[in-house]
């Protein structure tokens, strides 16, 4: 176990915070609620971006870029949206600093450079984008518009945690415009599936697909689809959302098109996004008391090689073997790091890469090598094995696939073990303390959901898409219900 590293059992929350910093992923900055994403953390984010961007393009989307600032009045145009987003935000009021007027050292905003209308640093870009789309759309021929943007956004959160909830965060936001309701709903579902595929395949993180209850919907959406994951403390984490926005933004920003039937109609909209929050999910889903655990598909370093030798002759032989393996791994597109620094001891390196979650470690020891052996260790199970140096790279490729699959299966088992049906309120209040997903009947009203939240701190994480109809009674009110929904405490 890493030195002085708190365990998940002792304090899950502290374990997470320490892990983020000690694994060199990120740190808090001097600016309240804003983090610095360090190179190792950013390299993981870049791998996420690359994979998602490829999928967006394969599904016909193009990237574009819209302004960071949104005029205050734009938020006032969509009634629900302003409620949800324009409250806690960063407001730009001036555009110039000047020396302090009282003659003391330092600068102050210049009163003569006060903006006529305040600008809001975007918390999300529906308003500015739909204001722009008005100019892009005249007829059905201009539709669909399938744009995505990679950007930073700011929401003035009171309590922040690195990656999970920060004032500034990085994300992508897709904003599409369609001629029909059906097409927009199809797009909303398509992107939910892209997110679910990414979470399960690349992040090795099983997710439930579902829709949100009205209370938890995106401000301005008619329907919010989401993917929900379970963390190792049994809490839920919303990993991505895809919104069917109906014609709300088209109406607020007057975006109409001439249909094939020559009629002027409002355009249908969707928006969908995932953020650096996924980094938090990735970290919390797989890591252990020895540090970070990364799925091979997102690991910046997939394999690390550590040499052990004493004499110059041994060094020469070990180096040569390392170069052979590196060459073969690179040909298979496996990213490999050879750490032959002499100022650090092998034991120090073992701890370092274990803590940083490198999926596979190869140790090439001079004495083992004389017998044609090298040692491979997998990060997920911490198992070690001596194998022949002949054909090692093929074995390592298989091992990486195996680690990826094992992480997924482990997380899936955990979720299954911590998902249970609950049918009474007494049972609910007991079970919710244990964590996990509770499948319960709910009477479908916002009031009941609110009451349950008040009493238990649990919310409806989603109404699962893949679920069976089942008659039952609401756990709180006893009113009739036709299917179970997922309750949990959440990040």
């Amino acid at each position: 176990m890493a030195k002085n590293f708190v365990t998940r059992q002792e304090n899950y929350s502290e374990w997470y915070n320490e892990l983020v910093v000690r694994a060199d992923l990120a740190e808090n900055s001097a600016v309240r609620g804003c983090m610095v994403i360090k190179p190792y953390g950013y390299a993981i984010w870049e791998k996420m971006q690359a994979a998602l961007d490829k999928m967006f393009k394969e599904t016909g989307h193009q990237n574009a870029y819209f302004p960071l600032f949104i005029p205050k009045s734009y938020f006032e145009k969509e009634a629900e949206h302003v409620e949800g987003f324009a409250k806690e935000c960063a407001i730009v009021t001036h555009h110039r600093l000047k020396p302090k007027s009282d003659g003391s050292p330092g600068l102050e905003p210049d009163p003569s450079a006060k903006l006529e209308e305040e600008l809001i640093v975007r918390p999300t870009s529906e308003t500015i984008i739909w204001d722009t789309y008005r100019g892009w759309i005249q007829s059905y021929r201009d539709l669909p518009i399938l744009c995505n943007q990679w950007a930073n956004v700011v929401r003035w959160e009171m309590r922040t945690r690195m990656f999970l909830r920060t004032a500034e965060f990085l994300w992508q936001e897709g904003h599409t415009a369609h001629a029909t309701k059906e097409e927009a709903i199809e797009e909303t579902e398509k992107m939910l599936n892209v997110y679910a595929y990414f979470a399960e395949k690349h992040m090795a993180m099983p997710v439930l697909k579902g829709t949100k209850s009205p209370n938890e919907r995106f401000a301005g959406a008619l329907d919010t689809y989401c993917i929900e994951a379970m963390m190792q403390d049994g809490k839920a984490l919303q990993a991505g959302t895809s919104h069917f926005l109906g014609q709300n933004f088209a109406k607020a920003f007057d975006v109409k098109f001439l249909s094939k039937e020559n009629k002027l109609e409002y355009v249908w909209a969707t928006s969908w996004g995932v953020s650096t929050r996924l980094m938090g999910a990735l970290i919390m889903c797989h890591s252990d008391d020895h540090g970070l655990v990364l799925p091979p598909m997102l690991a910046p370093i997939q394999v690390v090689i550590i040499p052990i030798y004493k004499t110059p002759e041994q060094k020469e032989k070990v180096n040569q073997e390392a170069q052979n393996i590196i060459k073969e791994l690179k040909e298979m597109n496996i990213s490999v790091k050879y750490d032959d620094r002499e100022e650090y001891k092998p034991g120090w390196k073992f701890n370092e890469y274990e803590f940083k979650g490198v999926p596979v470690r190869i140790t090439i020891g001079a004495r083992d090598l004389e017998q044609g052996l090298i040692e491979i260790a997998r990060r997920d199970t911490l198992e070690k094995e001596s194998i022949s140096n002949v054909g090692a790279s093929q074995k390592i490729k298989t091992l990486l696939d195996d680690v990826q699959e094992n992480l997924y299966n482990k997380a899936l088992s955990y979720r299954e073990d911590n998902t249970r049906k609950v049918d009474s309120w007494e049972e609910f209040m007991v079970e919710i303390e244990k964590g996990g997903f509770l499948l319960c009947h709910w009477d479908g009203t916002p009031e009941t959901e609110e009451k349950i939240k008040e009493l238990s701190k649990a919310t409806i994480r989603c109404i699962p898409l893949e679920t069976e109809k089942e008659e039952g009674k609401c756990i709180l009110t006893g009113k009739p219900s036709s299917r179970r929904v997922v309750f949990a405490r959440a990040y």
Copy 2:
């Protein structure tokens, strides 16, 4: 010539503005000075990013991400830096909106949510990054730090032009930390060479490498290296800068390290950046009165194929031929678009792709095809040629290389034709009106440079790195000078 499109001769500035909009690259947004980068423009920027990012990584750099907001006090720490950057900037003063207190509809900043210290939206990130580096650096073992950041920045420019000068723009900023002065200077020069290589090889845009005179230096730098390009109106455009920052920021933010000799020393710094301004340079360097001209290495669509047919049988044959060519081009990693839309006529398509600067157009006409012929047209010279459909893809690959090279050579000839030595003040005032680069002697004082700028609107673009020593007299003061510098009017 494109319909109603102003020529460069008539009005170069209007030609540029119109080109940007009509080629679907960008448009002004509702937010003063901020642009929307449209998908076609953004696709070019993505190609620039990918190429640069690869070169940064090949030279040992890693990406990271630092906060958008910088506390006001940080700017006060480096005296020259604050002069240069903290004047015209976006200032965040509040973090919450509330309903207007006079009861009228709408929102206003909540006085109870006024920030204790104002936050500046980053105009550049030296201050926040060096404040962070203090925590990362203890000993020489922690050096060098070679970080880059892709980000948006804001400078409150009074007069803006899309890509060339906007309030918000996208860029990359490299920030490195070194143990010695020599190493920092070597890094500064290395990155200048990366920029020059990118400009010449990828953008097909010849550049002069040089250093800035003290007047034109980055605020806080000891030396600023730059690449300068010439646009088609003879004006200069600074395309990238690389700064040797000495120990200024280390001193301002107290960043010291324990050297190998066990002495506590201040860290040496560099920073370097290029921005979406490169898009403006690319557009202005090559385009013509028919629209955009793109070098193949940065064109989102390198080849467009347009079919011409009348009967269904002809359509079938043309389609088949197109698919053959597409397959072969894709195997060569050439990006190709097949525009077989029936709602647009071939003539309309010709104009469209010509205006959008697609380097090579293939027309597959049913009647030509009967004779085994297809037509290829190159955008740079507008030349057309009928070639055999057999082996066409290899010919197209060669043609793309040829277009890339020709664009570079054309721009280089233009620059050479418009660069001249000038030895007297009278001549200078005549020649500067004609545009171009004037190679002149200068007495080396900021006062003289300032005076020349006042009288002629020309500035010293750079003191070229590759230049011969030559004794002479300053064009304005007649004082002795030992080498010529480059004067021009600039964007």
